[in-house]
Point group: C2
Chain length 415, copies 2
């Protein structure tokens, strides 16, 4: 079963917002065996929306549409859908009750434009929006399903989970798609490919292998397409096991999780605790860790020691060390990580200090110079990294490098 | 001048990665007066890529393609482009030199698949990839420009900035597009629209106004399209000034920046400093702040106090307070923010504590219960927020709410 996603909104096409909805929706649909043929982002333009709808309907059976449902003049998705289906807009009483309910909850007067939000094309089934005033709309037309949802991520997400996914599952006979991902750290894409070339060549035609490299990691993704879930699962697990046996030394996880989640799982299983001392990453490592449910079992927290003063007061870095070697130095990184272990009383700690840029570099310490330290009670590993002058990239790459180093330290400690 | 972006890769269509490249590229192209007609994400499938190329070429003059250039078997963009242009693949000596250079830099042996990366369709001009082995490719065919770049963000970004954007500017006569964004905090979309309805109705046809609502903020974006940059700028500034005059009480910034950057700018201009005490946001507020260049002028850092112990040791929250009221309480939030002011010696501080979920709630404190406190030496403001049970959403909404509250405190303090 094929679906397409159409996101509507000039804000995507001028680059003002990143379309995170599509990836999330694609993941949810894949989980129930619906493949995405294409994702298209189009402008708030009548003709363009009409064309995109027709093109998508020519390629797929399910068309999910987000965006353009707000109360203001630039939002034209609803009336364009009415035109596409040659339907009249009519006021829907459930949708109106929902708008009234939301306004009464916030104790604010309802405007005419808000009442208009309860109008929908007459041929649709309304999907309740528990988190906003714009109703979702489900259309069954000429053997195709069209679903229009708001572009606001949390409104769309609740609607998908509570209404759209269950309704798709109950109304369609869905095939099976299974993905299995192996996360590797510390080996390049072409080396991995070379090491497992014979395994890849032996894959049956219904299983595909993809290499997804990023920042010192490569994800190996096996995808199987078919009818029989048990057969697919068995075959995929068989090939995954062969790959893991071959390149096990660099495998961090055998599921599709980010490196910090692999670390959290491993540390939780082994009753280990973690704290951080972040300078140039400014909280990003902590954020990566704490975005995962259950992280509080492993993670104590730590310091975002942006200033010299906080490096001293929170981490016990010596004033002389900072004066003699500077904040970005092997010595400071070492004192930071050891101070974190001591003050925050965790089994492992990570510390980073560097010049994220775009300014602040010197001749001997150019922008992009970073020191990362990881430590346990037994061992401290410190490493210098050299990146470019793009601040956000430096923050991200530093964080991932630090996590890669922590992963290696954990696994080499043999705990 | 119209462009389209085609991103190629199954990993986007199964939702494994979010396509951040397109938004970035769209922003860069808009800056030089190129409008994006459509962004399409398609699979690593020969026929699908061929169709997408032809469709895009039917709508736009410039087609930018990312992804599918890796050395492994699932990457077929290059040979599909060769087929599309009916061209042969030939080894390019500059591209080969680059591959050899990169391998020698990392002191690793080159594999056959890496050498193949130096092959390109004979009708293209090679764009050097300083950060990877896959060359970029520039095609001029039948009045259209096609540019193929790697999907790895930093490889694509350097290539765009160093080569593609300058080449587009020098080879095209580009029209002018100007955007002006006003960031408002604390007023709903429909109320804003109602307050400025007459201004919106008076806009000339070459200026469009869009409302972009998100988490207690609404961005008002004026977009002007034309030939004469000076006239466009003047007209847009004229209408922006009218809007700001009308709704000035909720305006946080008159440029397209996120709320934390508006806060950083205001605090830097007024020589004010900031620290944080984060529990449930786990470093995310610090990350939002420190992703911006120059944040170290304002931001000292702070504590990610995930555990009870660190709330006590780093922030001086009293053991009795935690025992009596719990970590998620008005009292703890107040002690956290005041502890941050005291221990980290900043002019302002933000503290958050809450139950991010999806587990850990109780009858009187369900998942999504959050306390946010903002404070200066003169004033502490504490507020309870109630969200749903989605962890990442709760983290994001808590952070943005905290920043919105800090923004209001700053502006009400009249400093």
């Amino acid at each position: 079963m094929l679906a397409e996603i159409i996101t509507i909104g000039d804000e995507i096409l001028i680059g003002q917002i990143v379309d995170t909805n599509s990836a999330w929706m694609a993941g949810e649909l894949n989980n129930i065996g619906i493949r995405i043929k294409q994702i298209s982002s189009v402008s708030d333009d009548r003709q363009h929306i009409l064309t995109a709808l027709a093109e998508a309907a020519g390629r797929a059976d399910i068309i999910l549409i987000t965006g353009g449902l707000g109360p203001t003049k630039d939002d034209i998705t609803k009336k364009t859908l009415a035109e596409y289906f040659k339907a009249e807009l009519v006021e829907n009483k459930d949708a109106l009750a929902n708008v009234e309910h939301i306004f009464s909850r916030y104790n604010r007067p309802m405007l005419d434009v808000n009442r208009l939000q309860a109008q929908v094309p007459e041929n649709c089934e309304v999907i309740l929006n528990k988190n906003g005033t714009a109703p979702g709309m489900w259309f069954n037309e000429e053997g195709k399903i069209y679903v229009s949802m708001p572009g606001v991520p949390h409104e769309m997400m609740y609607m998908m989970e509570d209404e759209v996914i269950p309704k798709l599952k109950s109304s369609l006979k869905l095939p099976v798609i299974i993905h299995k991902t192996i996360l590797t750290v510390g080996e390049g894409e072409s080396y991995l490919a070379d090491r497992i070339a014979d395994i890849e060549d032996a894959l049956p035609p219904f299983i595909k292998l993809a290499y997804l490299p990023k920042l010192g990691q490569v994800r190996l993704r096996l995808s199987g397409y078919g009818e029989d879930e048990a057969v697919l699962k068995e075959k995929i697990e068989e090939f995954a096991a062969k790959i893991v046996e071959r390149v096990g030394n660099v495998v961090a996880a055998q599921e599709d999780i980010p490196i910090e989640k692999a670390i959290l799982n491993y540390m939780a299983d082994n009753n280990l605790t973690l704290s951080v001392a972040e300078s140039c990453t400014g909280g990003y490592i902590s954020h990566l860790i704490t975005q995962h449910a259950g992280s509080s079992k492993v993670f104590f927290g730590g310091a975002v020691s942006y200033s010299y003063e906080l490096k001293e007061s929170l981490l016990g870095v010596k004033k002389e060390t900072l004066a003699r070697f500077g904040a970005v130095s092997e010595e400071t990184a070492t004192e930071m990580v050891e101070g974190a272990l001591r003050n925050f009383k965790s089994d492992y700690a990570v510390a980073v200090t560097g010049i994220a840029g775009p300014d602040g570099g010197t001749a001997d310490k150019p922008v992009g110079t970073v020191w990362v330290a990881v430590a346990s009670a037994d061992k401290t590993v410190v490493k210098k990294l050299t990146f470019g002058n793009k601040r956000r990239q430096n923050i991200e790459r530093t964080a991932i490098s630090a996590l890669n180093m922590l992963n290696t330290l954990l696994h080499n400690s043999g705990k």
